[in-house]
Symmetry: C2
Subunit: 415 residues, 2 copies
Amino acid sequence: MASTAKPSPFAPASIPEMPEIDGVRFNSCEAGIRYKGRRDLMIAVLDPGSVAAGVTTRSKTCSAPVLKCRESLRHGRARALVVNSGNANAFTGRKGREAVDMTCDYAARAVGCSRDEIYVASTGVIGEPLDAAKFSGLLDGLAKGAAASGGSDAARAIMTTDTYPKVIVRKVMLGGAEVTLAGFCKGAGMIAPDMATMLCFLFTDAPIAQPVLQRLVSYHADRTFNCMTVDGDTSTSDTVLLFATGAAAKRGAAGVSDAADPALAAFEAALHDAMRELAIMVAKDGEGLSKFVTFEVLGAESDKAARRIAMSCANSPILKTAIAGEDPNWGRVVMAVGKSGEAADRDRMAIWFGPHLVAREGERAESYVERTVADYMKGAEIVIRVDVGVGSGRAKVWTCDLTHDYVSINADYRS
Amino acid sequence: MASTAKPSPFAPASIPEMPEIDGVRFNSCEAGIRYKGRRDLMIAVLDPGSVAAGVTTRSKTCSAPVLKCRESLRHGRARALVVNSGNANAFTGRKGREAVDMTCDYAARAVGCSRDEIYVASTGVIGEPLDAAKFSGLLDGLAKGAAASGGSDAARAIMTTDTYPKVIVRKVMLGGAEVTLAGFCKGAGMIAPDMATMLCFLFTDAPIAQPVLQRLVSYHADRTFNCMTVDGDTSTSDTVLLFATGAAAKRGAAGVSDAADPALAAFEAALHDAMRELAIMVAKDGEGLSKFVTFEVLGAESDKAARRIAMSCANSPILKTAIAGEDPNWGRVVMAVGKSGEAADRDRMAIWFGPHLVAREGERAESYVERTVADYMKGAEIVIRVDVGVGSGRAKVWTCDLTHDYVSINADYRS
């Protein structure tokens, strides 16, 4: 099922290989959870002393694995990450918690660590019990055979409706040595449950203290992953984790234990960039999409208000459908701004489709030529900019259009 | 364009005729605003002493006619209502206000009243200037020729993408005499701008004081029209107005000036019922719909929380698409509950599709048989009930599914 969808028009020509990251070993296998003939279970084994930071879904009905991650993130010690695809282990009640407990027990035994140093994530159908007993014979071998070179296969093992693996690699200087930041994510279609939870796992050998790492992840996830939407739906399982082994210290990288340390600058920039790129890759693999769309809002009361307005546009079915139809329907932009609930001055609003001003001071711009803007709408990447005319708040949100293929994929998904 | 869509599968076999309402005269004509060969301009002329109450869109980018209605609703005196279809006169800046002023001037002169006793509404494309000069030669004749029997034609004149006119008629006892409550609305597709604003106009000869009327309209609109959604989009022009001529007083109906007057009971029940029926008619004429869907939420922290949860379900593209695909995908219900932001106890939640319990205590019900529920999903009217397990708040929301036809209608609308 994961492989039946046609590739996104934005699939990259080549996928970067996951590099070796000092202190991290990967392995993956076919556990046969739901898919046949493909890897659906992965482990990342981390050297002793590693730490984790992360953010999880705001859903009030989050999955059992999310609850477990939140628990372990309280202390942040980390020795392994176990992820399966094909079954999200969400809305599975007591059985779901038991499956997480079993998985953590197997993994802890295999790695030789405590249960609370294990992080888990599951993605796939929800409401179906996950048979974690299957993992008992597998995790031990996976841990033993884990190798620094196994990252690229692991990135494929977590895919569901993704039409391509999403891998990012950055190398930067930190405290006098080069460190690696690399990882992968899956998202695919809608950012919603079933086959399309957003999971992101990043790994680094940088020696950064856990509280600093957590601060970085929270801050930049809010400005990257939280600025991306496919259909406005929220998964029960969304998880972003960043693991740091600290192994670069052996090569002379000075440790960072203060978020204000100027030595962090390059790493922080690389982290932001990596998370933004991954978020854009997710939007560009949106289910059934034909266009990648950026909404830029300026002139709002605050940055937060600007993001709410941009999200209101990015989640409007009727506006996204117009974009799929290559229709420069700026009236629907006005509607979406209006329904956001945030302040906007109708008589000072201005709207651009790409470089073309279509409306200003609350009415159609005199320079507007429908055919010119209609031609612009034929492009694959659309930027819609709105000045709402009340302040200096700004935001940018990435999304895709809403197409017939989206309906087909989601109407026919289970049956 | 308004007539090209295929009729809703829920179109009624026969449309009730608008009855005569003491003190109200209607007229309508072809003004040629956008459509050819159909009525697109109507007037309702009200006897001196009439009052109006109403509610309008919460959009922050509301149209010029909405601003005018809000202004006149402050005093509530009413002598005429003028409505056009084909152009919403929204996001038309200064020109939009001028068009409203001109329309009110013509109407006031034609009826012989003050400008502030005129109410206006426009529905159709937004962002295109409305040429109100066209109305100058028309409104005078329309007002002169207005007749008590003209209501049914007026109901048709306000249609846009509606596939059938939506008319409601109720007769009830009030203060010792029978009074009439009747009116019509349009909504059609998405409840969003362009061709699909929700407008509702009700008329009665009941002698009810304006403040009481306003209280009734606000209270019941919140429990009827505000519990209905097609695609979660909010029009710049949504307007609900109730006009009362008081003419039934001549036939012995005692006036009502206190909202707590027990004589109001039957009228209030009829008003609620009329507004609910009209809201359901709008949802049942949702653009491209194949199924009418009711979400019932119980066990929420409050009625308000329940409505937010029900709306979150009713506006979820991925859940609405699953319903179009006749897929009993209760996992998507869990997701939509979770993303609402309202409290829900994952481990005490229960979900029913029609009479079938599919999940309880946070996991799939043992009695659940997929084929039985899949058969239920083949029906035209789907009821999904969720107990979120934390309190006693309840709500019911009406909506429709999200289909290929919705995408076709909205992607191809302007071009």
